[in-house]
Amino acid sequence: MCDTCGCNVTNANRHLVSAGGPFEFTEAGTESVHVLQNLLHANDREAQHNREHFNRHCVLALNLMSSPGAGKTALLEKTIDALRTEFSIAVIEGDLETENDAERIRSKGVPAIQISTGSACHLDAHMVHGALHELPLAGLDIVFIENVGNLVCPASFDLGQHLNVALLSSPEGDDKPAKYPVMFRAADLMLITKSDLIEVLGDFDPSRAATLLRELANPAPAFVLSSRSGCGLPQWLDWLREQVELRRLCDAGGEPGNPEVTQHADARADG
């Protein structure tokens, strides 16, 4: 059969090429093909593959997203100090150019894989997959993926994480959830960082930030903390412990492919 004379059109597929059908041929020799293909499907497929890697080793993967300078690395340093005896932790660092953040993490005695994205403004699932093969996943409890500092682009790319944590530092202003709805809608937890500066700033209202998060139909909890003073850190650490536990239950329950493990124990903002 050929595509030229119409002999490839059978009773079984005639509806596809008839008027209004998805493969309709027109007089002018043009063809209109209906596709409905998600343009991020290649990334999403790789992300699912990454998630299977994490699940196979019962590892909780968290994607940390924020503006540059919101305190992702400082939070990780404090978190590693606090949890090093409880959990085995590793970090995947996304950075445009330097290895500075990865070196800060390594100095804590924790494996850190640096992904230098060059001019790319976000991590994607393929970059993370490359990093995964350098990590000894067996024996790990938590992998933090520190995304490139950017409130726009990282939100569109699934990396294979189980949960998204969005950091909002107080100097940025409390209206960020309304300004960056794609990012904050996807957050499973919002951390308001640099809380020690709130008093100095005078115009940052944590409850307003939490309200704007709620207006994105997002039930995620919002915690207020300061990595510098340590204030609010216990709540974050307890949340992490709970998520590791939920991850273990989920993997033990034979749901290795399920990315939707988001369980919001506390549907109300605490901030």
């Binding site: 595509d3 596709v35 726009v152 207006e215 139909a217």
Partner: protein
């Protein structure tokens, strides 16, 4: 910034379709974009000619259909159109809603010139 990467993914899909159907030229590409996809329609429009240069879609027209943001209320069940940064129920103002449209980034339709119909292109 990431719109160029999205465009390259789009053109990869289009090239595969054109190749499979032995099309000589792609004339029109229709893409649906929701505001909550994280992709800016204008940036996509600007990135397209750069990404399309030298491909079968070199002279194709890119049609972007903006998909409205819609939510379904978990309380009253109403389906309403809302702003991208305020996903409250349009009827009762409840915040517990489910997004039912507006986060899509979808290649919807491709129109192409067939090699035989146009009398051009390489059929072997």
């Amino acid at each position: 910034m990431h719109e160029l990467q999205i465009c390259q993914a789009l053109l990869g899909e289009v090239a595969a379709l054109a190749g499979a159907r032995n099309a000589s030229r792609v004339t029109d590409i229709h893409v649906g974009v929701g505001p909550l996809s994280g992709v800016e329609a204008d940036l996509l429009r600007n990135a397209f000619p750069i990404a399309a240069a030298g491909t079968a879609a070199n002279s194709a027209r890119l049609h972007l259909r903006l998909i409205p943001v819609r939510v379904r209320c978990e309380e009253c069940g109403a389906e309403t159109s809302v702003q991208a940064n305020r996903l409250l129920c349009g009827r009762c103002d409840n915040w517990q809603t489910t997004l039912i449209g507006g986060d899509e980034l979808v290649l919807e339709r491709v129109e192409m010139q067939r090699s035989d119909g146009a009398g051009a292109g390489g059929r072997d």
